[in-house]
Amino acid sequence: MTTTASPLDTEASRHTSIRWAIRDVLTLARRNLMALFRIPTALVFAMIQPVMFVLLFRYVFGGAIPVPGGQYVNFLIPGILVQTTIFGAIGTAIGLAEDLQRGLIERFKALPMARMAVLGGRTIADMARNVMVLLIITAVGFAVGFRPHGGFLPYVEACLVMLTFAYCLSWGFAFVGLAAPNSETAQAMTFPLIFPLTFASNIFVPVSSMPWWLRGFANNQPVSQTAQAVRGLMLGTAHGQSAWVSLLWAMGLVAVLAPLAVNRFRRAA
């Protein structure tokens, strides 16, 4: 049967082309976003938590935190934006752990879809959610007196820097979600990773007040670099090389974390 060879080959390529891979990613990203809107409580909580942080630090702690330049609200909001996009990665871990627990990963793995679409669809949906969160926190920031003087374009650049960083970091949380036995554990496992990265940083306070041993970490860790870049771009002050350092970190992280997550996905069922 020499004639069967060619239709089979076209059939195979039909299922593996880049175009199909993109459609698979979009199909799953759309599915994940739909689920997000179907659980309004989850969405509201995702939005409420950063707003609470804004209010807490703006009106409760803020008065007691001296910052260079004097206006704490302008220091705070870029930091909160970075913190919120990074917290979004918790959703990546929980979502994948749930899919695994419910047997959906097993189903996806038996379908003739692109292998990377499950992880790609999840991380891209979570990035889309981060874009929404950025818009909302920006609006809330303006309402509480945030006045970025850097201009519109640098503001967009700042958003791209932090979205890129959070996206690359989320691959590590994809790994956590696939390694966890269930979604509750996945959530618990993210905490010791997220906590030092966001709080031992310059997100809420200048690192100059920290003890020397912590300052070294806090100054140089990637989240601080990202926050410094975002702050510099949004406020129109110097950010030095922070934006480039943040992007380099992002590339480095994704180069290590994505293969880990993909490998975990291959073994998961």
């Binding site: 239709p7 299922h15 199909t27 659980i39 069922a269």
Partner: protein, 342 residues
């Protein structure tokens, strides 16, 4: 038809030879040298208790897991060398109804249809058609989380059928279902086979295997311990189990020697109960009563029932289907998963 059935389908839809699968770096053998052949167009059964390796076998054949050793082909394609091709000819409905609870029934089917790379228009008509066929038409726009257990299973099976695969893998399709839902699902499966689909299903229920499967293999601790048609297995076992209950263990012990001649197969005695597998139930019951009568033994109960998986195991292996393996509960399933990922 979503996919052309011009695939060179041979006499066997599934051929697995000497499959070994270990977990924990070889510390646990889930499958130990399993060979099976599923004839095209038939329902083939994998019968066994939890932890016997059924799910691992299904996962290997559906390209979800790779075998440690051995060769398997599905629809003529090697599961390791051409997993992409295999995925185009199979449908998989796993052990736990894998539906997205936050999507509607229709959205679930549409998602799977799109991921099967069907045309968008076709996906919509096919999804509607399946909802209709599976009695879910009125619930197509309801979220899957509102579905009953039976509805979820039907939706799960429908999702496995979106691309009209010629080969279908069903992992314990009726576990946890009420009798009516189970009957409904059996009818659906029988309909699929009439339409030419090859079905490989796993089950813990002898009754289910008997009703649906022409041929089956019995798995225990990852090994095949028996194979043949359902009738062949039953004839090895006896058609009926005669259960005699006594007032005391002493009575039961005395009766055991008297009634053991009723069946050619060894009697199973536990506490105050004696079980005998026999071919002709009523005649064996009358014979047993005659033998115990007049000896002062107090019989408190007599029952005839269909043989269960436990009876099959007792007869084939001399031990009961082990409860200590893996119960079909979610935490246990996680254990299997964790094992699978190590």
């Amino acid at each position: 038809m979503a996919l052309p059935r011009l695939l060179p389908m041979s006499e066997y839809a599934v051929e697995a030879t000497n499959i070994v699968r270990t977990f924990h770096d070889g510390g646990f053998r889930a499958l130990d040298d399993v060979t099976l052949r599923v004839p095209t167009g038939e329902v083939f059964g994998l019968l066994g208790p939890n932890g016997s390796g059924k799910t691992t076998m299904i996962r290997i054949l559906s390209t979800v897991l790779s075998p440690t050793k051995g060769v398997a082909s599905v629809g003529g394609f090697d599961v390791v060398k051409h997993p992409g091709r295999v995925r185009q000819v199979i449908g998989l409905a796993g052990q736990f109804a894998a539906v997205d609870e936050n999507l509607t029934g229709f959205e679930n089917l549409r998602m799977v249809g799109l991921l099967n790379h069907l045309e968008k228009a076709k996906v919509v008509t096919r999804s509607r058609q399946l909802l209709d066929e599976f009695g879910l038409a009125d619930f197509g726009n309801k979220l899957a989380k509102t579905y009953s257990g039976g509805m979820r299973r039907r939706l799960d099976l429908a999702a496995a059928l979106v691309a009209s695969p010629p080969i279908l893998f069903l992992d314990e399709p009726t576990t946890g279902l009420d009798p009516q839902s189970r009957q409904d699902l059996w009818t659906i499966i029988e309909g699929l086979v009439e339409g030419g689909t090859t079905v490989l299903l796993t089950t813990q229920y002898l009754e289910e295997a008997d009703r649906l499967c022409r041929q089956l293999v019995v798995l225990d601790h990852g090994k095949i311990i028996a194979e043949g048609t359902s009738a062949e297995l039953k004839s090895r076992l006896g058609n009926t189990v005669l259960v005699l209950s006594f007032a005391s263990t002493h009575d039961a012990a005395r009766a055991l020697s008297l009634v053991s001649g009723v069946s050619t197969k060894p009697a199973n005695s536990e506490g105050t109960v004696i079980e005998l597998t026999v071919d002709n139930g009523p005649a064996a019951a009358a014979d047993a009563l005659r033998r115990i009568d007049g000896d002062g033994i107090v019989l408190t109960g007599l029952q005839l029932r269909e043989p269960s998986l436990d009876d099959v195991f007792l007869s084939l292996t001399g031990h009961k289907a082990e409860e200590t393996g893996e119960a079909p509960s979610a935490p246990q399933d996680r254990r299997i998963r964790r094992r699978a990922r190590v």
